[in-house]
């Protein structure tokens, strides 16, 4: 048997729905890690089943909780609106039809305290599993089953070697590496999955490269 018993009896989560509550919280929490800086406001644009049945499943509360950094099994999840107000983070919800996306998809538009904006799109694909499909216009398919690093970088020669060198210095084995670009020679987004836990200090080492704009570690 190649399925763990804890995939069947689990996850431990806040109800009522693994896709509409637990998955939603995970999506927003992941997006928060990706955008990292101080958040002032989040616009949640809901598609499909998230828009239609989200309310009855607490999808709204779960998304806000995730954006505050709460986990899917945190009992203060139901109280997230109040917690957000306390932290001075505002939010709004709207419906948006998106093309070629999963039924449970949300676009999260973060306005940061410095006025800049970040956009993350993701889907809750069942049983609490999620995938991130877009970060600031970079289209991808990131399922976060493994510890992941997301690097925004200038599309220059040698940068991949440089980054993989840093990974090796930290004794990390690269399981998968994927590069997405918006156009040639512009900015690229590099997604690296590893077999082992990634220490957050690696962000700093990677940022030292002059061709790197940002680096984010997401340990699942």
């Amino acid at each position: 048997m190649d399925i763990s018993i804890f995939d069947v009896v689990g996850p431990v989560m806040i109800g009522p729905s693994s896709s509409h509550t637990a998955g939603a919280a995970r999506l927003a929490k992941t997006a928060r890690i990706i955008v990292k800086d101080e958040i002032a406001h989040v616009s949640f644009r809901l598609h499909g089943s998230f828009a239609k049945t989200g309310k009855g499943h607490g999808t709204d509360k779960a998304l806000v909780a995730g954006a505050l950094g709460l986990s899917a099994d945190d009992e203060s999840l139901a109280d997230s609106f109040r917690l957000a107000a306390k932290q001075g983070i505002s939010f709004d919800f709207s419906e948006e039809e998106m093309e070629n996306v999963h039924e449970n998809t949300v676009k999260m538009v973060f306005t940061m305290k410095d006025g800049s904006r970040n956009e993350v799109v993701g889907s809750s694909i069942g049983g609490g599993q999620i995938k991130i499909t877009e970060i600031n216009g970079f289209v991808m398919d990131m399922n976060l089953q493994l510890p992941t690093i997301v690097i925004e970088q200038y599309d220059k020669k040698g940068i991949v070697t440089e980054v993989s060198g840093i990974m090796a210095e930290h004794d990390l084995n690269i399981a998968n590496m994927k590069l997405v670009r918006r156009s040639k020679g512009d900015v690229a987004c590099c997604i690296i999955e590893t077999d082992d836990f990634i220490p957050e200090e690696i962000e700093k080492s990677i940022m030292e490269s002059k061709n790197v704009i940002s680096a984010r570690v997401i340990n699942v």
Partner: protein, 291 residues
């Protein structure tokens, strides 16, 4: 190595082990964890299960629509009544299954088993059996192992998703898992546990998923209560010696095929069954007007 209920039972029989021992061995090999680590994690999950099965017995839990709020509390009061038809133990088990459902609906903490919508069945049976026979924690966690192991086989060979297989795949599988656990907790043989699994699935073959207004409340809570009892009676039938005429793996396959063939209206879309009744639709309308 096993990929079916038959393979699991044979392995246990040949080596004179219980199902939970074979399942534990497999889990340790698969995840590279020690038996102690696996039991620790089981204990953590069982803690969450216990809390969810008890919380709403003490205090009704508010939820969107409040369709089931207070039902666990009421059932627990009734279970103390010596004149109840099913007796104290079964009524108490139903109350605990309702409690976990209420906690889930109210955005409380639960452990999916195998899903959030069916999270009351396994805890209610594990706790009910261990309370009745004064079983120690270790024996109860062994029951949880048996149930989880049966669950992995059904996940692999069929489905536990309501959207794919209807309620029989969620609450029905939870009952099948719990039935096997109850048999082993009562020292039944691996073969008996397998028959209990098959009988529980037989008893609810074709059960549709038709949540009113799309909420995980009605009939989910009632199905949690009734499938917990299904698990208990299936375990008793198997312990008495009843065999499933159809081999357990074939019953699992039949359940999967029935699930595939169910129209989409009966698979978590809230478009058929109770959800499509005049009253069901009215509840939905009222809910969204408030929103």
């Amino acid at each position: 190595m096993y990929n079916s209920i038959e393979e699991l039972v044979r392995d246990a029989e040949e080596r004179h082990l219980s199902l939970w021992q074979v399942i534990l061995e497999n889990e340790c090999r698969l995840t590279q964890k020690t038996q102690k680590e696996v039991f620790k994690r089981l204990d953590e999950r069982y803690e969450v299960m216990q809390k969810s099965a008890k919380k709403a017995l003490e205090k009704p839990q508010e939820s969107v629509g409040n369709l089931i709020t207070g039902t666990a509390f009421q059932q627990q009061l009734y279970s103390n009544n010596r004149d109840s038809l099913c007796g104290f133990e079964l009524n108490h088990i139903m109350a605990m299954a309702l409690s976990a459902s209420e906690v889930n609906a109210s955005m409380g903490k639960i452990c999916a088993a195998p899903t959030a919508g069916s999270c009351g069945i396994l805890p209610a049976v594990l706790i009910g059996v261990s309370e009745k026979y004064w079983l120690d924690k270790r024996t109860t966690l062994q029951g949880l192992l048996t149930a989880s192991g049966i669950g992995t086989i059904i996940v692999k060979n069929a489905t536990v998703s309501g959207a794919e297989g209807g309620c029989q795949a969620e609450c029905g599988v939870a009952a099948a898992m719990a039935a096997a656990a109850a048999v082993e907790m009562r020292n039944g043989s691996p073969r008996m546990a397998a028959h209990a699994t098959a009988i529980a699935l037989m008893n609810c073959m074709g059960l549709v998923c038709d949540p009113i207004a799309g909420l995980v409340q009605v009939p989910c809570a009632q199905r949690n209560a009734s499938q917990a009892i299904n698990a208990m009676l299936s375990a008793d039938l198997a312990l008495a010696g009843m065999k499933s005429v159809i081999p357990p793996d074939e019953v699992v396959e039949a359940m999967y095929k029935v699930g595939k063939k169910l129209p989409v209206e009966f698979k978590e879309t809230a478009l058929g069954g109770l959800a499509a009744t005049p009253t069901g639709k009215k509840i939905k309308e009222n809910l969204y007007q408030q929103a």
